[in-house]
Amino acid sequence: MAYPADYRYTKEHEWIQVDGRIGTVGITDYAQNSLGDIVFVDLPKVGDTVEAKQSFGSVESVKAVSDLFAPVTGTVTEINEELKDAPEKINSDANTTWLLKLELADAAQVDALLSAAEYEKFISEETGH
């Protein structure tokens, strides 16, 4: 499964696509596959601040709860309201189903994240294949 080259990635399986000062955040295909059928997404509110590497919400499948970790520090400008009633969209297309958009506090934080190639290497090491 291809991981878009223009995204950056975390070891907690979030992605961020940056456009100027706005970052769009989602979870990776690897994450949605591990979770199984997603039934519930818990997101912050517009205007909330999220801190890099801190939990900002959670994604739940029938079997498990998984914390969401912010790739960078920022202020929430938009959340994906569709996920309230149709969280399974993440399973269908993790790469384009976004969770929230942030105004970045410090664009330089993005440089510390993994590239698509680095992320693919990371997950292949984690799973052993």
């Binding site: 199984g36 059928d37 739940e60 499948s61 029938v62 079997k63 709860v65």
Partner: protein
């Protein structure tokens, strides 16, 4: 995730599950499939069509001999003297204080032959308990046949049609909780029981546990069910199915710290039997006015999923209990749970709060089972 199969036990179908790319999990020391093709798809297949489970990890204890009925009667709380040959019932082995060693299904194979099917996670404990408790009684031999069988559960409204293709036994003659022996997939003397853990109609078959036979039968069941949309099912769906059906899981709703009345299983404890382990404790609990806490069903009424172990609070902020099993319900599309609460909180529609990651989220008491299979109009 790192593979740690070296210490885990495996059923005869382990290689088959892994080849089919099932997601595997450690269940009570067993390397078992939790998800074969998606939990929700598997759950819905069982509710609307048919699914097949490998439940070979469960245990089988045989009590054989002229003293076997007396031994079963001493060991288990239900009344096995009421069983006919070919009949089974739900029961439990209790500790002297009225709490659970395990819940079981007792099968009467003949006047001198009983099969007790036990949980996977409690196999060794149960066998030791049985030997210790009744091993001295006259005329009874205890045999652990757990590794002897591969056990498949074929469950759902189309389960009978699926299995009928593989056996000459007329399955319509087997009533619920009865069993017989027949030819299945060319194998002779296979025990075919109309039992299960899903709340649907279905069968459990007990076949020899060598790998080639097990793999062949598993494949034939999947082929037979193909036209109905059969799916191989894992422990994830097994859990959501039994939860919707309000069925207890050892270590959750029943354990060595929970008594029969707390678990709402008093109807299976036949106190008019002259003797069984735990009987006196149950009589004492009754004499003292019954249990102080009871198992209830909860339905989340505010947004959130109450899960195993989450604390339950009264609406004025006192912690009153805990969820034993909680999950989204794939069929009912609600978030449901079983929980222990004080008897004052057990009335239907009582509102409580479940603490979910620091937040108090409202739930209400609802009837159990949450799901009942539709009645067939015959």
């Amino acid at each position: 995730m790192a593979e740690t199969t070296t210490e885990l036990r495996k059923t005869a179908l382990n290689a088959v599950h892994r080849a089919a790319k099932a997601k595997m999990v450690d269940f009570g020391g067993w390397d078992m499939p939790v998800d074969c093709c998606g939990l929700v798809a598997e759950h819905m297949a069982v509710r609307t069509a048919v699914g097949v489970f490998d439940v070979s990890h469960m245990g089988d204890i045989q009590l054989r001999g002229p003293g076997s009925l007396a031994a079963v009667q001493q060991l288990c709380m239900n009344d096995a003297s009421k069983l006919a040959v070919g009949q089974a019932h739900y029961s439990a082995m209790l500790y002297p204080n009225g709490t659970f060693v395990d819940d079981v299904i007792v099968h009467k194979l003949s006047d001198n032959d009983y099969l007790i099917v036990i949980n996977a996670g409690t196999r060794e404990k149960d066998v030791q308990w049985v030997r210790k408790t009744i091993g001295h009684m006259p005329g009874v031999h205890v045999n652990d046949f757990s590794d002897y069988y591969t056990q498949l559960a074929i469950q759902g409204p189309r389960a009978a049609e699926t299995l009928q293709k593989l056996t000459s036994t007329d399955l319509s003659t087997i009533k619920n909780y009865w069993f017989t022996w027949g030819q299945v997939c060319g194998l002779h003397n296979v025990m075919i029981a109309r039992t299960g853990y899903t709340g649907e109609d279905g069968f459990e078959i007990y076949i020899p546990s060598d790998e080639p036979t097990s793999a062949r039968v598993w494949g034939e069941v999947l082929d037979a069910g193909k036209e109905f949309g059969i799916l191989p099912c894992g422990l994830g769906a097994r859990n959501t199915l039994r939860l919707e059906a309000g069925m207890a899981l050892y270590g959750h709703e029943i354990s060595d710290t929970i008594n029969v009345f707390e678990a709402n299983l008093g109807r299976y404890a036949k106190l008019d039997k002259p003797e069984f382990v735990g009987r006196e404790a149950l009589l004492e609990i009754q004499a003292a006015g019954g249990p102080k806490r009871r198992l209830v069903g909860l339905e989340m009424i505010e947004r959130g999923i109450g899960r195993d172990g989450y604390p339950v609070f009264s609406l004025d902020g006192a912690r009153i209990g805990e969820i034993t099993s909680g999950s989204p319900s794939p069929f009912l599309k609600k978030n449901i749970a079983l929980a222990y609460v004080p008897v004052d909180f057990t009335a239907l529609d009582t509102e409580v709060a479940v603490e979910i990651r620091g937040q108090q989220v409202k739930a209400k008491v609802v009837p159990v089972p949450f799901y009942k299979k539709p009645k067939k109009s015959t």
